[in-house]
């Protein structure tokens, strides 16, 4: 468990408010991991591939990523497909965290290889509950090291 705590969490989320609420509730769940935020899928991809503004910065391992779907430039599903399509990054766990509960969207994400799909509830109590449970889950889940 101590190993898993060290994982860096990358949060790809274009909405500042959502990003803040997610981070706050992860902290409330006792998550002490470093949380990096990118504002869209492209930036998340750059982070993973050490390109763009992350050029020259090797990605930390272990790494787990939380992706929103609707984002400008590159949406979460495209970024997911890119990362899962690349043998070097395929084993990074990706959790889709989005307001959409469209069954077709959920299906598409699992097809593209996401590890989990979570819908953000509007009701804040439920929202907190979901994010904090996700935090607890992240604490116990085994994440591949040295991808």
């Amino acid at each position: 468990m101590a190993d898993a705590v060290a994982a860096t969490i990358l949060l790809a989320e274009d909405d500042d408010g959502h990003a803040m609420l997610v981070q706050r509730n992860l902290r409330r769940a006792g998550i002490l991991n470093e949380i990096v935020r990118t504002v869209d899928g492209q930036e998340a991809l750059d982070y993973v591939q050490s390109k763009g503004i992350y050029a020259g910065k090797p990605r930390p391992t272990p790494l787990v990523m939380l992706f929103d779907i609707n984002m400008p430039r590159m949406d979460g599903i495209q970024a997911l497909a890119h990362i899962k399509g690349d043998p070097h990054t395929r084993s990074i766990p990706i959790v889709m965290l989005t307001t959409t509960d469209d069954p077709r969207e959920i299906e598409r994400c699992y097809q593209a290889g996401c590890s989990l799909y979570i819908t953000k509830p509007i009701d804040y109590e439920q929202f907190c509950d979901v994010i904090q449970r996700l935090g607890l889950f992240l604490q116990i889940v085994q994440i591949p090291r040295g991808q």
Partner: protein, 367 residues
């Protein structure tokens, strides 16, 4: 060989000897007409004139000739009639083809309009879906941060309660927190939750057209029984009595059928008259409608006015807003589901006496 009269023949013979000539003569013998052909020639020999005359009976020949002529003209007439008939048939055929072409055109237009309508409907549903999802995102913020504000005000309350806080400031501060701030936040949250419910309802509506139905023969009896069982606590709480008569099997999607009846029974329970014991009857009419069995859900509840009944299936219509929670979308949803089954739904109601909903659903696979 012209037929001459005998007189002409004689004249001819005189004028030009050595010439055979013919004539025919009709002789009436009793009722029988005999026709003779007279052929004659003259020769002058040694100053004497010799006449040679041959007679042929051509009665039969003439009769045949007449028959053939009559037959020919008859045939000609027939042929003429046939041609006329054939012309008018051709004309009729042309007309029929024209009509068929027009019908085909109309059909094509109709099917085009139909395709366009289906496309429009799908576009509308997809639009509704994406809009409601896009609207959800800001609601998460509104709801989340208003809640965060509440917890901030909890922290501030602790600050005001610190011993070093001057009593004047403490009093004023706590009042601002507990009255102004809390009240405002409550309004925001109630508004957001209402919006969120409406959007969920819209999403459910848009899904009605998108969910694929698994059509099969469905026995309604266990479905309705299951619904009644699941509503047991509210039935007991309302002191209502629900009876369910034998129901038919229908051709439809089990989930959609369950939603249809759950909505109708739920409505009946929600809008009972609190001043009398509620009675809800579920059953099947003896007579069919358009070949479909008709189920009903009948209550002795509040009922509704004629005006309300006309708008019954419209979206966001609520007639007893104080009586139950909801967005006024259930019956619209039910109607869409029934119509997707190619069934019919209608209601009868008397204000103060109760309401009956009738649902006609096909009982077999369409041919």
């Amino acid at each position: 060989m012209l037929d001459h009269s005998i007189d002409t023949l004689v004249k001819e013979l005189r004028g030009s000897p050595q010439h055979w000539s013919k004539c025919s003569e009709q002789t009436l013998i009793g009722e029988f007409t005999q026709i003779l052909e007279v052929s004659a020639s003259t020769t002058a020999e040694n100053g004497a004139v010799k006449y040679a005359v041959a007679l042929h009976d051509i009665t039969e020949r003439k009769r045949y000739e007449a028959q053939i002529a009559a037959r020919a003209s008859e045939l000609l007439q027939k042929n003429f009639e046939l041609e006329r008939l054939s012309n008018s048939m051709k004309h009729a055929k042309d007309e029929a083809e024209q009509v068929k072409e027009q019908a085909d055109n109309l059909n094509q237009q109709l099917s085009k309009v139909n395709d366009e309508l289906i496309k429009k409907k799908e576009e509308n549903e997809a639009f509704l879906y994406s809009v409601t999802h896009d609207l959800r995102s800001p609601l998460v913020n509104l709801q989340g941060f208003s809640q965060e504000l509440l917890s901030v005000s909890d922290d501030m309350r602790k600050l005001f309660n610190e011993p070093e806080c001057p009593p004047q400031i403490k009093k004023r501060g706590l009042m601002l927190l507990d009255e102004d701030m809390k009240g405002s936040i409550n309004f925001i949250q109630a508004g957001v939750m209402r919006l969120s419910n409406i959007m969920d309802a819209l999403l459910r509506l848009s899904r009605v057209g998108r969910v694929e139905y698994q059509l099969q023969t469905v026995d309604l009896n266990p479905i309705v029984q299951r619904i009644i069982d699941s509503m047991n606590s509210i039935i007991t709480q309302k002191g209502a009595r629900i009876t369910s008569g034998p129901l038919p099997s229908t051709w439809g999607d089990p989930t959609a059928l369950e939603q249809i009846f759950a909505n109708l029974i739920g409505n009946a329970l929600n809008y009972l008259d609190p001043n009398r014991p509620g009675v809800i009857e579920i059953g099947c009419l003896a007579e069919q409608r358009d070949g479909m069995p008709v189920c009903y859900v009948k209550d002795n509840g509040l009922g509704m006015s004629e005006q309300a009944r006309t708008n019954l299936f419209r979206m966001f219509q609520r007639f007893h807003p104080g009586q139950a929670k909801g967005e006024g979308i259930g019956l619209n949803l039910v109607k869409r589901m029934v119509e997707r089954h190619e069934g019919q739904i209608w209601a009868e109601s008397t204000e103060g006496e109760g309401t009956a909903f009738f649902v006609a659903l096909p009982n077999r696979m369409p041919a």
